[in-house]
Amino acid sequence: MLESSTLGLYLFLSIFIGSLDLQPLIISHYTLANSLGLGSSATMDALRSRSSGLIPCAFEDVDLETYIAKVGELDSYRVRTDLSAYDCRNNRLAQLCLQQDRFGEAIEAAKNKYGAARIGVFMGTSTSGILQTELAYRHLDPQTGALPHNFHYAETQNSYSLAGFVAHYLGLTGPSFVVSSACSSSAKVFANAQRMMAAGVCDAAVVGGVDSLCLSTLYGFNSLGLVSRLPCRPYDADRDGISVGEGAGFVLIERATAQNPPDQIYLLGVGESSDAYHMSTPHPEGLGAKLAMQRALDSAGLKTGDIDYINLHGTATKSNDASEGKAVADIFGTSVPCSSTKGWTGHLLGAAGITEAIIAVMAAEHGFVPGSVNTQHLDPTIAINYQIENGTGKINRVLSNSFGFGGSNCTLVLGRQA
């Protein structure tokens, strides 16, 4: 009762007050790196060929029986020497990703256009460079207990490390911060960029997210009983948990101009909400998820029928998929094709939002609906139009869900203008 009355009140108020139109913003350029490969085309190819990035866990000396999604190139990779204080797995992955898809060239062009001080940097991460600290704690000075001399707290462990590194690497001096709201982090950065640009604080923004493998998340999710021993199976009746992965993604956001082609992909809407229910379990009726999706549709000025594909959060835990599935069923019924791509990428935590936003953009660009790898037997209790097989067709607008611990929810709508 409480849930439906809260949602009803919100819907009433949003109709009564009306919602501010989002300033038209375009997805100007993007890049991705994850276990499927380096560069956005590697992810697209793996989606088309249904090649999952999940492998049996072989990371540091982790002794858990599970599958992970790992970027193999990172072990021997180092960040640029002038930024060596920032060297850690998370920033290595950031740099490796920034070098793909001619992203650096797009940033240079944007700097010439707007000036480095007018481009914001808003990044999402959940664990930043914590692996560096985990490893350092194995090498404390036996006499004093001090950390090793080569440990750089600000540049690695601190959550801001990622945005600081990206800003320095790209030579950007506009406003910047890190959003760290667990697994919704790098979806929420789109809202930050939209607001900063609408308020005139910057003229363009690099948004993104990076999360990399570490012991904290593997053992932490394991302690909650949320890690599967098998490759994760989103929306399967027998799903039993996530597969932890690592990945990075970045998007350059600019204001729309008259020169944009008719096929241009826009950031159409963002919706944010809070569950106010539990720290690590989503609201069982999907209350927060529903609010986030409805707010995203409202901010885009769209109706459910305008959405052609939903990229679900779909972590493959019992509780997430049940809760999200109920929320999607309540708003969209069985009309819109949906899937979770985490069977390919694993759960990228703080990088999940940006990765799936870029998959949403590619779905619209290529007229491609990813299905779901590893999912065998759909959960019959979830009444949505879940796609196991890949599909094709005209995809104009995609809704992408990202939900995190602490009940932090964010939904994006990306695609062509209606």
Partner: protein, 265 residues
């Protein structure tokens, strides 16, 4: 330039037991005495959650609650922006210790309290708020990052926003590499329109280039300002306490800062 209204203020730090109790000290009318921060169990939380609350949750909930009470607003009705350089620093230290030695048994509560948005999550549960909530980090500039984000939410989303900034000390060995000297939290209720509760107007401008930061007149408060990232907001509180129109400047990143005009109502 973004124009916002301050409707409520919360404060908890060493020798600063609440906004109401600290106004005289901040206005330079009473001496500052740096006694340890008076942390208390967050009465807003249900008993089970209250037992699990670490220092940042205690700080965030105390200052958030004080600010909402002053504004006379329902905690359900505002968006929230939490900002902190660290998060639960005691917990992160404990987890790193556990992971460095076998068996690596991280408790479920330790793990879910280790997320940077733990204070936000507990706040939303305690406040019953389904409104948007974000959790930011800007290292030493975390307060400024939070104020800038809050200002854009007020201006662009026409939202009432509670800004909550907090930081506390790391235990060793992390304290040596990140010497935060005190547990400190502050909160502001920021609104797009003036009301009978409005305390002041603040005009916030993001400016490129370095700045001469506004400092605290009291030597003890200046030590605190520099000792905890969240306390970089103290000059704003001092301006609000002064009762006079005041122009202040707070450093942001290497090459920019916020210029803030405070006009008490």
């Amino acid at each position: 330039m973004m124009r916002l209204f301050v409707e409520g203020i919360g404060l908890l730090g060493p020798g600063l037991d609440s906004w109401v109790a600290s106004r005289g000290v901040l206005a330079g009318e009473a001496d500052y005495l740096a006694v340890p921060t008076n942390l208390r169990a967050p009465e807003m939380l249900p008993a089970a959650e209250r037992r699990r609350a670490g220092v940042p949750i205690k700080l965030a909930l105390a200052v958030g609650q004080e600010a909402f009470l002053q504004a006379g607003r329902d905690t359900k009705t505002a968006s929230t922006v939490f900002t902190s350089s660290g998060g639960d620093n005691d917990n992160v230290h404990a987890i790193n210790g556990i992971l460095a030695t076998a068996p690596r048994e991280v408790s479920p509560t330790r793990f879910h309290n280790s997320v940077h948005n733990a204070a936000a999550g507990y706040w939303c549960i305690a406040a019953g708020s389904h409104e948007p909530s974000t959790s930011l980090c800007g290292y030493d500039a975390s307060f400024v990052a939070g104020l800038l984000e809050s200002a854009t939410q007020v201006i662009v989303d026409d939202a009432v926003v509670a800004l909550v900034a907090y930081d506390h000390c790391y235990p060793e060995p992390l304290h040596t590499v990140r010497p935060i000297t005190a547990a400190f939290g502050m909160a502001l209720i920021l609104t797009p329109r003036q009301s009978e509760k409005t305390l002041a107007v603040i005009e916030v401008e993001f400016v490129s280039g370095k700045t001469q930061e506004t400092t605290m007149q009291s030597a003890g408060l200046e030590v605190l300002r520099l000792g905890a990232p969240a306390a970089r907001g103290l000059p704003l509180l001092a301006a609000l306490a002064s009762g006079k129109p005041t122009q202040i400047s707070i450093a942001y990143l290497d090459d920019n800062h916020l210029s803030i005009r405070v006009t008490p109502c």
